[in-house]
């Protein structure tokens, strides 16, 4: 015999509820202000200790005070109470404070709702695959805690709740998939998305100073993925063009004023390369393409320095189809552009200027001078390294070219362009990515931040802008087989698997393949893609889509119901009892209701008195019922007769 007042959760489940909530809150610790993380942790710890020993929970008046203090704190930290970051901070703190007020069923249920809501807010920060997996686990724990809250008796183990939660979620997944694919998507935003919604992504910027690209190379993050139509070009020709830097102050380079727009023309040779790019959002307006882009994606334009620019920054993963010519001859640079390509700060880097002037005096033409400069890097044993020494002082190029001679691609490109400009040859720095990694599983190339690169372009009469990569002079491996092979083992990049062996590399290919699919099919599943997919399935228009949704969802629900209720085969009522019950219902309609303890024969006598017209039938049915229900045998013929008579019986109005 057991019994308890229902719906008052036992204290044992509270510990698990706390644990589930903690798991749901945890990832926010990485971006909440320190005081908010600390306060939330303190509230959790307090509640956890209060489970074991009688620790006083705050008095009633204290909680509103703490709520106000938290709100003021959030306002002080973020300057607002709204928007993503402030809202999440506020939600987390409110959850912590609600822990102090956890008495009945309702409080716990609200905590669980807050927990579920906190889980979904993590997606504002990261929608990576592993984050999805973590949050699914959090949802599993939260559901188990909800089951615990709804189980009033203390006898149940949490592992049972966990198993049931897993079962429920597993049964929910098919329906979730149907909804995910078929539920009509509405394109956001419905209201202005606060500016803090974009995640802090790193990528190439529009300035370059010593150390900026080598810093970027530490990141293993994906910049974009490329799929070629047909045979991909060799790795050393994969120069992904990014921002072109014109202006220098002697130390750093920047785009400066972009050259005025004009029709851009060039001659392409050979076969055009066709490919599509899936660009990770970087909050910038430029698009990367192989040198030189021959087509312009929608919503973009080609600037005179052959950079593709969009009207709006890339805030979401973007897919575009491109064509490029790897061999080309540019023409038509304006005198103003050439003038800009000779800009140098007047005083900086005197030794470099003197060297360039010496070459200028000897060289018969510009092409020879360019070759001489490139040879200089090889002859003087420059070293390609990820950790070059700092270049303090006003003349960093001098220090690099004549003293340290150790540098990363930005050092080589910057010093080369400085040399060219000092010698009177128009030149500019081009940043972007070089190379990439082929993924044999998905037959695509992955270009990572670690592939960031900088090179130079010089203007030669009759040939136009010509790409020169001084880094390739120093470290041919960098350009031909990627950065991992160009750096010494000791300097291997974090997250790089250069030394790891083949299986590790395969693992990485597989992982990236999964991530690529995740990005394309899960995260990139938008209204547009939904309509495309449905059109491919032959469903066009909202009506057909709704039909598919209801058919698919309904069918799944029927299957689930059949599966779940398969064991619950409630026996059909005994045919004799059922027939008699039907008879009683018909009599009740004629206002003759069988009393709670009235025997069938007593009832028959009373009913017959009330309804004399049906008396014989009433007696016959009642006698049959008594005989079949209480008799020792049950002849089938009589059962059939009873059922037939009960079915035909109709009580005349009294």
């Amino acid at each position: 015999m057991s019994g308890a007042s229902p719906l008052t959760p036992s204290s044992r489940t509270t510990g698990w509820l706390l644990a589930a909530l903690a798991v749901a809150v945890l990832p926010h610790a990485s971006h909440l202000p320190l005081w908010a993380t600390g306060l939330t942790m303190a509230l959790f710890a307090w509640r956890a200790i209060a489970l074991r020993r009688p620790l006083p929970l705050p008095r009633k008046w204290l909680l509103p005070a703490l709520v106000i203090v938290s709100a003021v704190g959030v306002l002080a930290s973020y300057g607002t109470l709204f928007g993503r970051d402030a809202g999440v901070a506020l939600l987390t703190l409110m959850l912590g404070l609600k822990l102090m007020e956890m008495r009945g069923y309702r409080d716990r249920f609200i905590l669980i709702l807050l927990g579920y809501f906190l889980i979904i807010t993590h997606f504002l920060y990261s929608q990576r695959l592993w984050m999805g997996a973590y949050l699914f686990t959090a949802a599993l724990l939260m559901t188990a805690a909800l089951i615990g809250v709804n189980h009033p008796l203390p006898s149940r183990r949490f592992s049972q709740n966990l198993r049931l939660a897993g079962t429920l979620l597993a049964q929910a997944i098919p329906l979730m998939l149907v909804l995910f694919i078929l539920f009509p998507r509405i394109s956001g935003p419905l209201w202005r998305v606060p500016t803090d919604a974009g995640s802090g992504v790193s990528g190439l910027s529009d300035t370059m100073s010593p150390g900026s690209i080598s810093q970027l190379s530490l990141s293993n993050a994906v910049a974009f993925r490329v799929k070629f139509d047909g045979k991909p070009p060799p790795a050393k020709q994969l120069y992904w063009r990014g921002p072109v830097l014109w202006y220098t102050n002697g130390r750093s380079w920047r785009v400066g004023y972009p050259p005025p727009a004009r029709p851009v023309r060039y001659q392409g040779f050979g076969k055009a390369v066709k490919y599509q790019v899936i660009l990770e959002p970087d909050g910038r307006k430029w698009l990367f393409a192989l040198d030189l882009p021959a087509s312009v994606p929608t919503n973009a334009m080609l600037r005179p320095d052959y950079l593709l620019m969009r009207a709006a920054p890339v805030e979401r993963r973007l897919r575009y189809v491109m064509t490029s010519y790897l061999h080309y001859r540019t023409e038509g640079a304006t005198p103003a552009e050439l003038h800009r390509a000779l800009q140098l700060p007047p005083a900086a880097n005197p030794r470099t200027r003197r060297l360039a002037a010496a070459w200028r005096a000897e060289a018969p033409d510009n092409a020879v001078l360019v070759a001489q400069a490139l040879a200089y890097y090889r002859r003087h044993h420059f070293v390609y390294t990820l950790s070059p020494p700092a270049l303090p002082g006003p003349n960093p190029v001098d220090r690099f070219l004549f003293n340290s001679r150790r540098g990363f691609c930005e050092h080589f490109a910057a010093s080369f362009v400085t040399l060219m400009r000092a010698a009177g040859i128009p030149a500019r720095v081009v940043t972007g990515y070089q190379g990439g990694e082929y993924n044999p599983l998905g037959h695509y190339w992955v270009v990572r931040q670690s592939d960031a690169h900088a090179w130079a372009e010089v203007w030669l009469k009759g040939r136009g802008w010509v790409r020169e990569d001084p880094t390739a002079m120093v470290s041919p491996d960098r350009v031909e087989s990627g950065i991992q092979s160009a750096l010494p083992a000791a300097a291997a990049l974090p997250g790089g698997f250069g030394e790891g062996g083949a299986w590790l590399r395969d693992l990485r290919y597989g992982w990236d393949f999964i991530n690529g699919g995740w990005n394309l099919w899960v995260l990139g599943y938008s209204q547009q893609r939904q309509l495309q997919l449905l059109a491919r399935l032959g469903l066009s228009g909202w009506a057909e889509m709704a039909l598919a949704l209801f058919a698919g969802g309904g069918g799944l629900l029927l299957l689930t119901a059949a599966f779940l209720l398969r064991g619950r085969r409630w026996r059909r009522a005994d045919p004799v009892t059922a027939a008699y019950r039907r008879f009683c219902i018909r009599l009740a309609r004629a206002a003759v209701v069988r009393g709670p303890s009235e025997g069938p024969l007593d009832f028959a006598r009373r009913a017959a008195r009330r309804l004399p017209a049906a008396a014989s039938e009433i007696h016959r049915i009642s006698a049959l019922y008594t005989m079949l229900r209480y008799g020792r045998t049950r002849p089938l013929a009589q059962v059939a007769e009873l059922r037939r008579r009960a079915r035909r019986f109709s009580a005349p109005s009294a």
Partner: protein, 315 residues
């Protein structure tokens, strides 16, 4: 016809039965208040996912929505197919709690967690039904003598998620016999000289002859409680006295002439209890009914039942 058709329909639909299985037509299911809150939360999540174009936000919202829908089946399944059988019911004295035992089991041998049963208007009782089934004690106050028939039995469950509540009504065919409340102090003394220690009993038995201890039975006088033994063992024990058996005591309705019916019944109940304790034979005379003198537990119950049902249709 001016009959209440709904009442009739309900009565017919819910026949009092000895055993009933909750079929799919008798189990209802609707969202709870908390389930509606959950729905509002899902709507907010959905709008947020639209606004921030969160693909995983959509996925998570749909996952929770599907979870809620799947939980409908689980909640429903927790109740449907459950079989109820009326269990034992012990007679009680008026003013005590009548305890009705309801035996639950499921034919499939499935365990059913967090089932809640309650008589209409009474506090609920929760149970985790093991696969083998279990009998559950459901108390109901018995304010007056007679046959106490419980009203409708409400069975519900919101397991596992509390978002939906499945419920069913049952009307088990049970009744509890409620004896009149035995008169307390100040009641007229019994014809055989009362339960005092003073002599003058018709059977001449002394009350000083302590013969042993026995467990407490409802109706025992507090004077006979062995308080020393209670202090020692924490169980209520009653001192028993033996007396020589001899004469017959007639407990008669007419002896209580100045009182009203219920008071008379109450006094008679006290007399029956005391007479049984005294050990001699006793008979009961009520208007239109006479129970021949005898003694023993069964005789006592017969007498008390006659008092309980006095004025009602004889059973």
């Amino acid at each position: 016809m001016a009959f209440r058709p709904f009442q009739a329909w309900l009565e017919a639909r819910l026949p009092r039965g000895s055993e009933m299985t909750l079929g799919h037509r008798t189990v209802y299911i609707l969202p709870t208040r908390h389930g509606l809150m959950f729905g509002v939360m899902l709507a907010v999540m959905w709008v947020g996912s639209i606004n921030y174009s969160l693909s995983l936000g959509f996925a998570f919202t749909f996952l929770l929505g599907s979870l809620a829908i799947v939980s409908i089946f689980h909640t429903y399944r927790n109740l449907v197919g459950l079989t109820l059988r009326p269990g034992k019911v012990e007679p009680v004295f008026s003013g005590q709690m009548a305890v009705f035992h309801i035996c639950l089991h499921s034919r499939e041998g499935a365990s059913r967690p967090a089932l809640v049963l309650q008589w209409e208007g009474r506090p609920p009782v929760a149970v985790d039904l093991p696969p083998a089934g279990e009998c559950l004690a459901l108390p109901l106050p018995a304010p007056q003598r007679g046959l106490l028939r419980p009203g409708r039995l409400h069975l519900f469950t919101q397991f596992p998620l509390g978002l939906f509540r499945a419920w069913a009504w049952a009307a088990p065919d049970m009744a509890c016999l409620v004896y009149p409340q035995p008169a307390g102090e100040g009641a007229p003394p019994p014809p055989f000289g009362g339960e005092t220690d003073a002599g003058g009993r018709p059977d001449g038995a002394g009350r000083d002859d302590f013969s042993g201890l026995r467990g407490y039975r409802p109706g025992d006088s507090p004077r006979h409680v062995a308080w020393k033994a209670v202090a020692r063992d924490d169980t209520l024990l009653i001192k028993e006295f033996s007396g020589e058996r001899g004469g017959v005591a007639w407990l008669e309705w007419t002896q209580l002439a100045p009182f009203d019916t219920e008071t008379r019944l109450s006094c008679l109940a006290r007399w029956v209890i005391d007479a049984e304790r005294a050990g001699g034979d006793y008979g009961l005379r009520l208007p239109g009914q006479e129970i021949a003198p005898a003694s023993g537990e069964r005789h006592r119950e017969r007498c008390l039942a006659a008092l309980a049902l006095f004025g009602e249709r004889a059973q």
